[in-house]
């Protein structure tokens, strides 16, 4: 019996829509059992890539093999190997959670005797056993996402695609979903391809991260490798007296180009690493600037994105501190 291939392999994948190039030739490889975080801002090409890898959209050019099958010519085999929870949890508000799972199980060819048991098992697993017979229209966003995940697992796929699975979820729901995703990869050996625009999510979950911008992968590696590539921590300081902000910025300019956030916070990257923090404090002392707050940040994925694209990752400002903390 041939060895089961749970990898994803992509070479020169392109998708064009008339004059728009949504995916402009990407190469990537995801090994079996790995969680691959596909990170990028809105419109970067993440979802288009997922649609191609899940066979829902034919590539314009390039080759992609998922689970050992070619997405362009072996669609049915690819679909049998994968589960997918696409960007919007596409559920029928008039059906119950259990009805969704049983419909999915029927269409996937699971025998009548197994359907009920498999549905119960998945409802338990995604924490919806108590809400199983309620209509989905009354579910919260987190419950819908969990049901979506359960639906993707009905036929026991080997590879799972999750397209922005936690967008719009509260912290508690997000954390619960992360735990389940990590369990799927680490306990069941499932390969996971996860798109996200949250730096924190990629950092917390992904074994390796590919950063996509404008249809191209601009950086790829483990989060540690990517951050090490930046190599420089940054410091953010707020002066005790707001009137001293200019003096603060002038003092920090000796280390690099200072950035301001408009709320009195001035930041600068430290080319010499954390060891330069003492120099910063001395420079502020020499300039007579009293400090209200001082935070040292390790390099973040946002710094990687900034370094590779010259822009900050959209909508990721709130994640920056957590990432670098």
């Amino acid at each position: 019996m041939a060895a089961v291939d749970n990898s994803i392999e992509v070479q020169g994948l392109v998708r064009e829509f008339k004059d728009v190039v949504a995916v402009a030739g990407i190469d990537l490889r995801v090994d079996a059992g790995e969680i691959y975080g596909f990170l990028g801002p809105n419109g970067a090409g993440k979802s288009t890539t997922v649609l191609m890898l899940t066979t829902l959209l034919p590539p314009t050019r390039g080759v992609a093999r998922v689970g050992g099958y070619d997405v362009a010519t072996q669609g049915p085999q690819v679909r049998a190997s994968i589960g997918a929870a696409l960007q919007e949890a596409a559920l029928d508000p008039l059906l119950t959670g259990r009805e969704h799972l049983e419909l999915q199980a029927t269409l996937q060819g699971i025998s009548r005797t197994e359907r009920r048991a498999r549905s119960n098992e998945l409802l338990e697993r995604v924490g919806l056993a108590d809400a199983a017979d309620r209509r989905v229209g009354g579910y919260s966003g987190g419950m819908k996402r969990r049901l979506d995940l359960g639906l993707a697992l009905v036929h026991r796929p080997r590879i799972l695609f999750l397209d922005e699975p936690t967008t719009g979820l509260d912290v508690q729901s997000r954390t619960a979903l992360w735990d389940e995703v990590a369990r799927l990869a680490h306990d069941e050996g499932m390969t996971l391809f996860l798109t996200t625009q949250y730096l924190e999510e990629a950092d917390a979950l992904a074994d390796r991260v590919g950063i996509i911008d404008r249809g191209r992968i601009v950086a790829e590696g483990t989060t540690a490798e990517l951050k090490a590539r930046i190599g420089r921590p940054s410091v953010e300081i707020v002066a005790a007296d707001p009137a001293a902000t200019d003096a603060l910025a002038a003092a920090l300019a000796t280390f690099g180009e200072p950035t301001r956030d408009g709320r009195g916070r001035v930041g600068v990257q430290l080319p010499g690493g954390e060891g330069q923090l003492a120099d910063v404090v001395r420079a502020l002392d020499d300039a007579g600037v009293a400090v209200a707050q001082l935070q040292l940040h390790a390099p973040s994925l946002d710094d990687v994105f900034l370094a590779e694209t010259g822009r900050k990752l959209e909508g990721a400002d709130g994640d920056e501190d957590a990432d670098g903390g």
Binding site: V4, A72, A80, A90, R156, R158
Partner: protein
Amino acid sequence: MAAEAALAGAALPEQVAALGRRSVLRIARRPGQFVFPLIFPLLLFAVNASGLGAAAKLPGFPAASYEDFAIAVPFMQGALFVAITAGTDLAADIETGFLNRLALTPLKGRALIGGQLGGALVSGFMQSVVYLLVGLIVGVELKSGPAGALVLLALSTLIAFAFATLGALIALRFGTGEAVQGFFPLLFVALFLSSAFLPRNLIQEDWFRAIATWNPVSYMVEAIRSLFVVGWDGEALALGFGCAGAVLVIGLAASAASLRTRLTRT
């Protein structure tokens, strides 16, 4: 392995049944979507019967009363509403991404169309039963008798199903509920430009009579009407079933082609 076992998926009848069950559940859980389209044709029937009753006295009018003549219209209007509901439901599945969810399973295209229209079949049948009962209660005579009632239900359900394929076609072609709603007036124009409200032999305007003669809706209405006012009219029934069957075949073929375009899965 379970995943590879899913390659073939369920058999076609099982897929159709699963999606048909969902379609019927959706109707059962939105009674408003069934009841209001059911009542509106009855209201129009009541208004027409009370306002146009004198038409039955015209020489050459084919029925003893206008009620006997006009009872065919609710069956047709109900069928048009079924088409709109079927189309908007399918369009909603496209807009919400539910169709993509289905496309990720080994679902066969024929099963998708057949199953999605399962609700149309059920609601078409149920409303036909209601219209027949209301007609009999208000004194309409069904000259073809009990056997004619069965043929009537079969024909009106077939017509509703055939129109539903047109609703599905618009949904698959354009992908939005707005497009399906925009299609709604066209269907009603087709009904008004038929022999639904006046027999063709009494239509005075040549252009109107010519359109009504070419309009397949006329033959569907006349087939239903014949069961009430004539009894067994083989030619009318053949034309009615033939036109409904032709719309069904064309609607299914065009919907299947549009589904192939809509479902870009490899």
